[in-house]
């Protein structure tokens, strides 16, 4: 009963978004560290991918992430609909909200979701990959980043993710009742953007080929 009352409240929904958001953020960090093994050559990253399968974390991780994405999105949609109902008539004299990151959370989330779908088709299923050989992670991603539009889509998605984290990481703490300076979120977002973008940059610059 108590849990249900909490979940029904707007604060409870933000807590759900915070917890699932932190879960996904931890995954994003882990994924980034894994990506960086590309700099140690094909054997390292292909071996890392094989090792993940062998220790059996892939499927539990997928279920966990799916659950996080689902709960995060349901709460976000419910809050967005509440917000629309709370102001049926808007202002004639509009004004830009102060924070770009906060303003773009909802659409940014949609962009990231669409990218994740493509990303899974590209590098997990391999069907949208120009090389597309299971287990050849290194060759698959090098083939990907030969194409300018893949680099562009990837960059846009990473920047959208960074912006989402820029507001989201601080917001999650606030929702859970932890007062933290906003700068923390900026640092986290910056590190994640740099880490993820280093891979396509390395391919484009020929450091990784």
């Amino acid at each position: 009963m108590q849990t249900l009352r909490l979940y029904r409240s707007t604060v409870g929904k933000k807590a759900v978004m915070a917890v699932t958001g932190v879960g996904m953020l931890l995954f994003v960090v882990g994924h980034m560290i894994g990506n960086l093994s590309v700099f140690s050559g094909p054997a390292a990253i292909d071996g890392y991918a094989r090792w993940l399968r062998e220790i059996g974390v892939v499927w539990p991780l997928r279920f966990g992430l799916l659950l996080c994405v689902g709960l995060h999105m349901v709460a976000a949609v419910q809050l967005a609909r509440r917000a629309r109902k709370a102001r049926p008539q808007g202002y004639e004299h509009g004004r830009r909200p102060q924070s770009y990151a906060a303003r773009t959370m909802r659409w940014g989330g949609v962009i990231i979701t669409l990218f994740v779908v493509y990303h899974l088709l590209d590098l997990t299923a391999g069907v949208a990959n120009p090389h597309g050989v299971q287990g050849e992670v290194y060759n698959n991603l090098v083939a990907d980043f030969q194409l300018w539009y893949v680099v562009l889509a990837y960059t846009v998605a990473v920047l959208a993710l960074g912006l989402h984290i820029r507001h989201g990481a601080w917001s999650a703490l606030q929702s859970l009742g932890v007062t933290a300076p906003r700068g923390i979120a900026l640092v986290v977002a910056g590190v994640i953007c740099a880490g993820y973008l280093s891979v396509p940059a390395a391919v484009v610059l020929g450091v990784v080929s």
Binding site: T3, K85, A102
Partner: protein, 244 residues
């Protein structure tokens, strides 16, 4: 100085912006004095004066809520509309004046909205239980300095509703948090601390206010600068009340 006002006029279910050119204004006038001048001229012309809320005109009662060029209480930081002076505008400016917009704040007339929803939130938890009868000893309950300061920061809220008006979600969480943190920071407020958080948030939600998504638009609009940390405090209290 000369200003052109576009003011929301509404006497029935819908309204519209009406333009009023004003001449001969003094930059030392307050925003509300300007509206008084306009109303005098409207009365002379036999038109309905513009209805707007006000009382103390010294920034302490919270009655004067106006959306001025899309900014709650206008462009000056930590200033109520009644304390805003025309010197902060330029000669020849066009200024749009609208009422607060939120479902739980129905427009009564022109710029006046019904803010009793905020009273409903206070009723649901903004109280403490004390034995009445003989006056308590002044030092019966020592209050640590930090607690007193925290309580006072929150107690500065004047219930104007600017936080709701400025929030992209139409949330009243800054107001609710200010009230809950005010009492929750004091020893006298501890007995009801957990039920207060639950009941005030529940009432806030039931009234149709939006949920707080930490957009951070409320504090810059708040004439008393109530900090976002009060919302974190309320979140913490609510979560703890359920996990206890």
């Amino acid at each position: 100085m000369k200003l052109t006002l576009r003011i929301w006029r509404q006497s029935g279910p819908t309204g519209a912006l009406v333009t009023y050119p004003l001449d001969d204004l003094s930059p030392d006038m307050s925003f509300l004095e300007m509206l008084d001048v306009l109303n005098e001229s409207l009365v002379v012309r036999g038109e309905e004066p513009v209805a707007f809320d006000h009382d103390c005109r010294e920034g302490i009662c919270g009655m004067c809520g106006l959306m001025i060029n899309g900014v709650a209480h206008g462009p000056e930081k930590a200033t109520t509309a009644c304390q805003l002076h025309l010197r902060h505008f330029s000669d020849g400016d066009t200024i749009t004046v609208e009422p607060w917009r939120a479902k739980p704040f129905p427009v009564l007339r022109d710029l006046v909205v019904d803010r009793s929803a905020l009273d409903r939130i206070v009723e649901s938890g903004g109280y403490i239980s004390v034995p009445t009868g003989s006056a308590p000893d002044a030092h019966a309950t020592p209050v640590p300095k930090e607690s007193a300061d925290a309580a006072f920061t929150s107690a500065a809220c004047i219930g104007c509703g600017a936080c709701v008006a400025a929030c992209p979600n139409g949330s009243a969480m800054l107001f609710t948090a200010a009230k809950a943190t005010h009492l929750g920071s004091l020893p006298q407020g501890q007995p009801e601390r957990w039920s207060r958080a639950q009941d005030m948030v529940q009432t806030h939600d039931d009234l149709g206010f939006g949920g707080c998504t930490n957009a951070g638009e409320c504090t810059p609009a708040c004439p008393k600068g109530i900090p976002l940390t009060t919302i974190a405090q309320l979140n913490r209290d609510l979560l703890r009340s359920h996990l206890r």
